[in-house]
Amino acid sequence: MDALRASPSPGSSRPSSPRMAPCEMPAPVGIEAVLDQLKIKAMKTGFEFNVMVVGQSGLGKSTMVNTLFKSKVWKSTLPGPGVPTPQTLQLHSVTHIIEEKGLKLKLTVTDTPGFGDQINNDKCWEPILGYINEQYERYLQEEILITRQRHIPDTRVHCCVYFVPPTGHCLRPLDIEFLQRLCRTVNVVPVIARADSLTIEEREAFRSRIQKDLKSHCIDVYPQKRFDEDANDRILNSKIRERIPFAVVGADQEHLVNGRCVLGRKTNWGIIEVENMAHCEFPLLRDLLIRSHLQDLKDITHNIHYENYRVVRLNESHQLPRGPGWVNLAPVNLASASAGPLTTPGPSKAHKWAQEEPKYEF
């Protein structure tokens, strides 16, 4: 079974693929109207998008989400001053429905308070991996029913935004451990958080060092090179890949700058405008996540990450769907995410991605 379904589901809108010019038709048949029909359908059903934000506390995750979706509904999910930080990571999901120009978006943001804050952060990624796999499992259970729902509720994490602290040096061991494990299971977009503490030169140096680290540890972040479909995709995504990780700044306060009201941070030496490309790369992140690649994120999650999970689960259960009653898959231990051989993943494992292995650890 081909683990990688290279062809996307119908109706996918990889941003760059232009509509192939049909061979010259003597009279317009009206095929183009299909796109409008799809649009109307989409407007009716609405979209779902699930984002997870991961990073140490104080890196501006909640502020970033507020800035991205221009709403002030997300407060930081860290407990108050008197309450001690919980020893184990507890994920916290909030769902909101946002509407724009008649289009509804059901947005779910999963926060990970306490990640990387303890003295001993060993295996702090396991609850996160467990959560992601749990969502895949939920979808799988719905999918293998005989009488399925018309529209399976999609709680799978489409994108995981990882916040790298702006040390200016290179990726820390915790970052590498986390990214190595997660980029095989979910789309990961690393960003340089709180980038207003780095000058432009420092940012570029930091970025190139991070890119080097990602390459040397075989960490494939979104947009993944091997999922580029055609030349246009490659060109567009290469431009994005050059700038990953984006150096972002989040803000939820507005200030007056040159007569315009902008989101920004006001300091004694200047105002950092969030949407100003000369100040930070927030517009790039916003465009990637929302304006150009949202559907692509969902497609890759569905066609590749979810399919990989499904293949492994089906192999585990050693059963094919048959007869009355739905398949009873073998009980899965989602928490044992990164045990065993994955502790020291080497480059050879990453190359074996294309050839499916029965014992695929996730």
Binding site: S57, D117, P166, T167, P173, D175, A193, G270, A278, H279
Partner: protein
């Protein structure tokens, strides 16, 4: 006729001054904190030297297996005829690993080793040239991105606060807006109180200082922990176009020496200009004496020593290490050893002098000395 009553010892301070200028000062400063908080840049800005000139930031793969190391660098700074031998103790690798449990133990051990060395030297015979390698002050860098002290910060400060003068600073403070800085400082102060951590207390002004000075002093103390920004570059500030030390961003320039931008000036004034000597005194009078008392007390009762040491070990939490013990017999042995060394050195000296006199006759000079 006041000359009859003038004894003249009011000139003592200037005698002291002359003597200390001749002797020079030495000062050992430790910097600690997670990597990437601007420690090296701040030290370079503070002392206007390039202590970290040949610094190589290790790559990510190197960091995966790195353990905490203690590095010492020395530099001699001269200003106005006064020489200061500054020794900087750095702790690269602190807080880097995924599992940082007990990563502060090597640092604590290092400080106690310096105390132990000083104790040995002080109890020795030749006390003329005791090298004071004790750590006089520890600048602990707190991340501006956290919401106050992190568990690792608390653990480190708790292990160190009775052994060294701690001055907490908030590094890379240009990442914060003014309100955020205030909130963070207040949070840190509250946490320090809650965890009963004793940081270095800047002493009170003398009562005979004028009101203005007292007010300034109180204002400065309000700013602790200092929110600092370091820079080793001189940039041209766009507005006034005079060269300032600072960081040039596309939205403005942070001036390191501007009190409205950060507390760098306050830190430099308090650390270097006014309290350098006090830090050394507190280290000697309070911290070292405390260590010495603990050490000698455990020696004073050799019979009870075993019991107390065992009970100490059992009551100790994981973050404390047993104090190094100098058994009485060992001190005597040390004294005897040093005696022998002295005698040997004297013999060698005499031999070399004899050799020199012999070799000077044929006109040769030996540089072996």
């Amino acid at each position: 006729m006041q000359d009859k009553e003038y004894v003249g010892f009011s000139a003592l301070p200037s005698q002291l001054h002359r003597k200390s200028v001749k002797k020079g000062f030495d000062f050992t400063l430790m910097v600690a904190g997670e990597s990437g908080l601007g420690k090296s840049t701040l030290i370079n800005s503070l002392f206007l030297t390039n202590l970290y000139e040949d610094r190589q930031v290790p790559e990510a793969s190197a960091r995966l297996t790195r353990t905490l190391t203690i590095e010492r660098r020395s530099v001699e700074i001269e200003e106005g005829g006064i020489k200061v031998k500054l020794t900087l103790v750095d702790t690269p690798g602190f807080g880097d690993a995924v599992d940082c449990s007990d990563c502060w133990l090597p640092v604590v051990r290092f400080i106690e080793e310096q105390f132990e060395q000083y104790l040995r030297d002080e109890s020795g015979l030749n006390r003329k040239n005791i090298q004071d390698s004790r750590v006089h002050c520890c600048l602990y860098f707190i991340s501006p991105f956290g919401r106050g002290l992190r568990p690792l910060d608390v653990a480190f400060l708790r292990a160190m606060h009775e052994k060294v003068n701690i001055i907490p600073v908030i590094g890379k403070a240009d990442a914060l807006m003014p309100k955020e800085t205030q909130a963070l400082k207040q949070k840190i102060r509250d946490q320090l109180k809650e965890e009963e951590i004793n940081i270095y207390q800047f002493p009170e002004c003398d009562s005979d200082e004028d009101e203005e000075f007292k007010r300034q002093d109180a204002e400065m103390k309000e700013r602790i922990p200092f929110a600092v920004v370091g820079s080793s570059e001189v940039v041209r500030d766009g507005g006034t176009s005079r060269p300032v030390r600072g960081r040039c961003y596309s939205w403005g320039t942070v001036e390191v020496e501007n009190p409205h931008h950060c507390d760098f000036l306050n830190l430099r004034r308090m650390l270097v200009q006014t309290h350098l000597q006090d830090l050394k005194e507190v280290t000697h009078d309070l911290l070292y004496e405390g260590y010495r008392a603990r050490c000698l007390q455990s020696l004073a009762r050799p019979g009870a020593r075993d019991r107390t040491s065992r009970s100490k070990l059992s009551r100790q939490s994981a973050t404390e290490i047993p104090l190094p013990m100098l058994p009485l017999a060992e001190t005597e042995k040390l004294i005897r050893e040093k005696d022998e060394e002295l005698r040997r050195m004297q013999e060698m000296l005499e031999k070399m002098q004899a050799q020199m006199q012999q070799s000077q006759a044929p006109g040769e000079q030996s540089d072996s000395l």
